[in-house]
């Protein structure tokens, strides 16, 4: 939480990443300003998830730098990834809750074991967070007793419990029943209004338009076009963007 004067929280420059001989990211640049929500859109396979995983250090980049808050280079091979992950939270499409633990234990595990918070304090904080997202009644349930929407909100709370400076959402509504998408998006709105910096990959164009401060269209491993949602959705400059939007909004 240093260098608060710089409005930019995350700077990615020239990110390359390939799997075997398939290039997923090809010299991608991205800037994320403090307290902003940046939404990544693009076809499946355009590199949205890979980018988020690189930012969190779950994948190592082939080239380029990703710097958090001007002082922490995520791509430095000698960086302590546990530190990176304490400062950058991520929520996945498939929730990935720990099935052998109650909701409360899912949320308190990392604060207790990584930060060293006392059990009592971790539980108090977890219960407060669960209550904020309407999950107080589920604290002692096991994940298999939750609906998809509840499970995903618990996953958000679990990431939030580490008090990250930056939150990454990787298509967190894609695995959900359409009826349950709303409650998860409400949770994201709540975080956004609380001032958290968010980078989110999504297929929910309506939500992107509503919540994003900036929308980035990814194609061929690069940010092809970006801008405020009104401009990008209503008046895209590039034919590729127009074509993509025509397909997903049809």
């Amino acid at each position: 939480m240093t260098g608060g004067s710089d409005p930019t929280l995350l700077t990615a420059r020239g990110i390359w990443k390939s799997f075997d001989d398939h290039s997923v990211l090809r010299g991608l640049d991205l800037d994320v300003a403090r307290h902003q929500a940046v939404v990544l859109i693009g076809a499946s396979g355009s590199g949205k998830s890979t980018l988020l995983r690189c930012i969190n250090g779950l994948e190592t980049v082939d080239a380029g730098t990703i710097v958090l808050d001007g002082d922490l280079d995520v791509t430095d091979p000698s960086v302590d990834l546990d530190t990176v992950r304490r400062r950058i939270g991520i929520v996945f499409q498939s929730y990935n809750l720990f099935p052998h633990m109650t909701v409360l234990d899912n949320v308190t595990l990392a604060p207790r074991k990584v930060v060293g918070t006392s059990v009592a304090q971790a539980r108090d904080e977890a219960r407060a967070l669960l209550a904020r997202f309407g999950l107080d009644a589920k604290a002692d349930e096991y994940p298999d007793r939750l609906s998809g929407g509840q499970a995903q909100r618990v996953a958000i709370v679990r990431a939030l419990a580490m008090q990250p400076e930056l939150m990454l959402f990787d298509e967190i509504t894609s695995a959900l029943d359409p009826l349950l998408v709303g409650e998860v998006l409400d949770a994201v709105r709540e975080l956004k209004s609380g001032g958290l910096t968010i980078v989110m990959a999504t297929h929910e164009m309506g939500f992107a338009r509503e919540v994003a401060d900036r929308v980035c269209f990814l194609s061929d491993g690069m940010v092809l076009e970006q801008g405020p949602p009104d401009q990008l959705f209503n008046d895209p400059r590039l034919p590729q963007t127009r074509e993509f939007l025509a397909r997903v909004l049809a």
Binding site: D82, S94, D144, A159
Partner: protein, 289 residues
């Protein structure tokens, strides 16, 4: 649905009493038919076997009531040694095999010697017959006449069982670790947990749960294999049965020993089945991972 069904939306379970009664009658009839069929089958087979000309000799040789009564108490006493061997060996096997399985998952280059040792251990002890390991240790080590090294056949027999079974059970644990979806590890790491913490709190609890049925299976197998220690000479149940049989030229003591083993292994097998069925039910009920 009949007209007596409660209004929709009320949080009660409702079942039509007429259908319920019908289902109960059908279940009762099925149970009766099954039982009658089983009893009839057993009676027919027993009558046939007893009517064969060789049956009296077979009965006298294997199922002599007097021999059974004479040897039973002694066998039971000798069986206590098998139980003790099992009780000492099993916890050691669980600890060793878990350590070996974990060592084999270590990826850092510095641990290469450990990883190679664990792999060689598993390859060797899984590939050599248990009875050969028992011979090697039980006869071989005492023959060295080393100062301060135990010479007890029970000690070396148990050690051989621990080595042999640890190799097997380590593979069971390794399969369990492999059965935990990589996304679980990824989720734990993304929260900042170290590799060790990820194993300790996220991967191992799930891995062990997944391999409880095969672990119980190996328990049952170990209970039987305690009898292999007989080759070294200590008076455990098989050895006792052998002594009884050779003094009377009758094989009933072996059958009695088998009955004693079954009294332990069959309940254990049923327990393993029950655990397995319960886990399968749980998985069907809600397999969110």
């Amino acid at each position: 649905m009949t007209t007596t069904a409660p209004a929709p939306g009320t949080p009660v379970v409702y079942k039509d009493p007429v259908r319920q009664a019908l289902a109960r009658r059908r279940a009762r009839r099925n149970a009766l038919v099954g039982m009658a069929s089983l009893i009839g089958f057993v009676v027919v087979v027993a009558a046939f076997v007893a009517s064969t000309p060789g049956w009296p000799v077979v009965q006298e040789t294997f199922f002599s009531p007097e021999q059974f009564a004479d040897s039973f108490a002694g066998l039971l006493e000798a069986f206590w040694l098998n139980v003790r061997i099992f009780l000492v060996a099993e916890p050691l096997i669980l600890v060793f095999s878990l350590v070996i399985a974990l060592v084999r998952t270590l990826k850092a280059p510095i641990f290469l010697p450990l990883r190679v040792m664990a792999t060689v251990f598993v390859d060797v002890f899984r590939g050599v017959p248990t009875i050969l390991v028992i011979f090697l240790l039980g006869f071989g080590v005492p023959a060295l006449r080393l100062q301060g090294v135990p010479t007890s056949p029970v000690f070396w027999g148990t050690t051989a069982l621990v080595l042999s079974y640890s190799a097997y059970v380590a593979e069971v644990f390794r399969a369990g670790i492999g059965s935990v979806h990589p996304s679980q590890r990824m989720a734990a790491r993304s929260l900042g947990l170290s590799t060790f913490q990820t194993n300790r709190y996220v991967v191992l609890p799930q891995a062990i749960r997944n391999v409880v049925p095969p672990l119980l299976n190996d328990f049952i197998s170990l209970q039987k294999d305690t009898a292999l220690v007989a080759v070294l000479g200590p008076i455990e149940i098989l050895r006792q049965a052998q002594i009884d049989a050779s003094s009377s030229f009758n094989y009933t003591p072996y059958v009695a020993a088998a009955v004693i083993f079954l009294a332990l292994t069959i309940p254990m097998t049923r327990f393993a089945d029950w655990i397995q069925a319960r886990m399968a039910r749980r998985q069907r009920a809600g397999g969110v991972a």
